[in-house]
């Protein structure tokens, strides 16, 4: 039982340890270098453009419910986007496919308005539920894009078959489009049809990056450390397997058994 999942346990302990190690170093005042992420700079610009044209910003957190980590990352990004929008006094519209996400997003946006010092401009009606059906949600969102002509469309979270419908309709309405998803099958469509696309892990990194919280930034460093480790495992594993060196191959087949 426990021993059966020992490898999973080790990986988890290792990840947690790296995270807390980098958090502890970050407190000493070392602010890590993080390479620029596509679209994050454009996000402010897009909101600014929406303000100039007096158009709203459209934010979608995907089809996931709050039981999907991508949705939580999206809500985390929403928190920063809506803060910016509140500062600029630009309305942010967010149709939802799930009631629980709607509730949570309303909280997020309300808090952002508080942080921006504009609690009076918070409009709960702008964050609303449409339908639990994927394509009813899409049909509605398409209509919103055509009728309200938002100047910026931000798609973050778990998207599925509808990604291209949204992105192409959005393009036709002339909006700046910034997408981010970890759904491997939908990344190509966002890459092709949107102006900027956060690929896979960049979605999670963006949510940490935008928070400007040293603890969150530390997690990006932790992710990188884990990546280096994976790289090493691949390298050592491949060499071991080429030379048929038993200690390595045995260890790998135990550790990577899942």
């Amino acid at each position: 039982m426990f021993l059966e999942h020992l490898n999973v346990f080790i990986t988890m302990v290792l990840s947690t340890a790296t995270l807390f190690y980098f958090i502890s170093t970050s407190k000493k005042g070392t602010f890590p270098f993080i390479r620029s992420l596509p679209g994050l700079a454009a996000m402010d610009e897009a909101i600014g453009r929406a303000t100039e044209h007096g158009k709203p910003v459209l934010f979608l957190s995907g089809l996931g419910d709050v039981d999907n980590i991508q949705t939580l990352a999206a809500l985390s990004i929403l928190s920063r986007v809506s803060e910016k929008a509140a500062q600029y006094d630009t309305p942010l519209i967010m149709p939802n496919i799930s009631s629980v996400t709607m509730v949570t997003a309303q909280e997020v946006v309300k808090e952002s308005h508080l942080r921006a010092g504009r609690p009076d401009t918070y409009q709960p009606d702008n964050i609303y539920y449409v339908s639990d059906e994927q394509f009813a949600f899409v049909a509605h969102t398409n209509g919103v894009m055509e009728r309200l002509r938002p100047a910026a469309n931000i798609y973050m979270g778990a998207f599925y078959g509808e990604s291209l419908i949204l992105a192409e309709t959005g393009h036709a309405t002339g909006a700046i489009q910034i997408a981010g998803t970890a759904e491997t099958s939908q990344i190509p469509f966002f890459v092709v049809a949107c102006d900027y696309c956060l690929i896979g892990e960049e979605l999670y990194a963006a949510s940490a990056y935008l928070s400007k919280d040293p603890k969150q930034m530390a997690s990006i460093q932790g992710q990188d450390a884990l990546r280096v480790l994976m790289f090493a495992i691949i390298l050592i594993g491949c060499i071991g397997s080429t030379m048929n060196f038993e200690p390595i191959t045995h260890f790998m087949s135990w550790f990577l058994a899942g």
Binding site: V66, E201, M252
Partner: protein
């Protein structure tokens, strides 16, 4: 041409949706509002039956459904969490709705965390590891491409270093692999999406107009 009213309704709704391709119009708007209404009602009704009735009430109060099984009060917990989330409808109770969300977030995160480590990291790493030198040249080329492809693409996601110099070249290679994969994925999706459109066209030409016989 079909004489069934349901086929006509379905066909006209299909055309209403397709009219959006020309531009947003009254017919699309009509179809959109019908769809939102119908779908949320339908799903709501199904979830009422399947979850609230069957998964909660039936198990907690079997006698009310003329069943003899032992009542399982624990299942009412779901209802309580649901009510917590609903409580935000009453002003001043917003904090309670957070408790419900917190529960769902916490335990779903807990479930997914370990399964992701196991299935998406460890097992996948296991399949990435291949011998780099073998007797079969074809297999060797394949193995090299996959190892180099995976590791260079993995390097692209490395955030703590500027993509410059040799590292930059390596990540550039990673981007090429990513681009090939996006292109190939796009190409293979064309089929998928076209199948669905063809399904609709079959419906229009065969079930509705009767031009095609299958």
């Amino acid at each position: 041409m079909s004489t069934q009213i349901i086929v006509w309704i379905a066909a006209l709704l299909t055309l209403c949706v397709f009219s959006f391709l020309y531009k947003d119009n009254v017919f699309y708007k009509l179809a959109e509002h019908i769809f939102v209404g119908v779908s949320s009602a339908w799903l709501f009704a199904t979830y009422l039956h399947s979850d609230i009735m069957e998964d909660m009430l039936l198990k907690a109060f079997p006698s009310a459904f003329h069943q003899t099984s032992v009542p399982d009060w624990k299942v009412l917990g779901g209802g309580i969490i649901g009510l917590l989330i609903l409580s935000r409808l009453i002003p001043g109770f917003v904090i309670l709705s957070r408790f419900g969300v917190a529960f769902i977030v916490g335990f779903q995160t807990g479930i997914q965390l370990f399964d992701t480590i196991s299935a998406n990291i460890l097992q996948q790493l296991g399949s990435t590891i291949v011998p780099l030198f073998t007797r079969k040249p074809g297999e060797m080329i394949k193995n090299w491409i996959s190892v180099v492809g995976t590791s260079s693409s993995l390097a692209y996601f490395y955030f703590s270093k500027e993509q410059k110099g040799i590292f930059g070249m390596f990540t550039r290679l990673g981007i090429w692999f990513l681009m090939i994969s996006f292109g190939a994925a796009y190409g293979s999706t064309v089929m998928t999406r076209m199948s669905i459109l063809i399904g609709r066209i079959y419906f229009l030409l065969s079930n509705w107009l009767g031009v095609v016989k299958i």
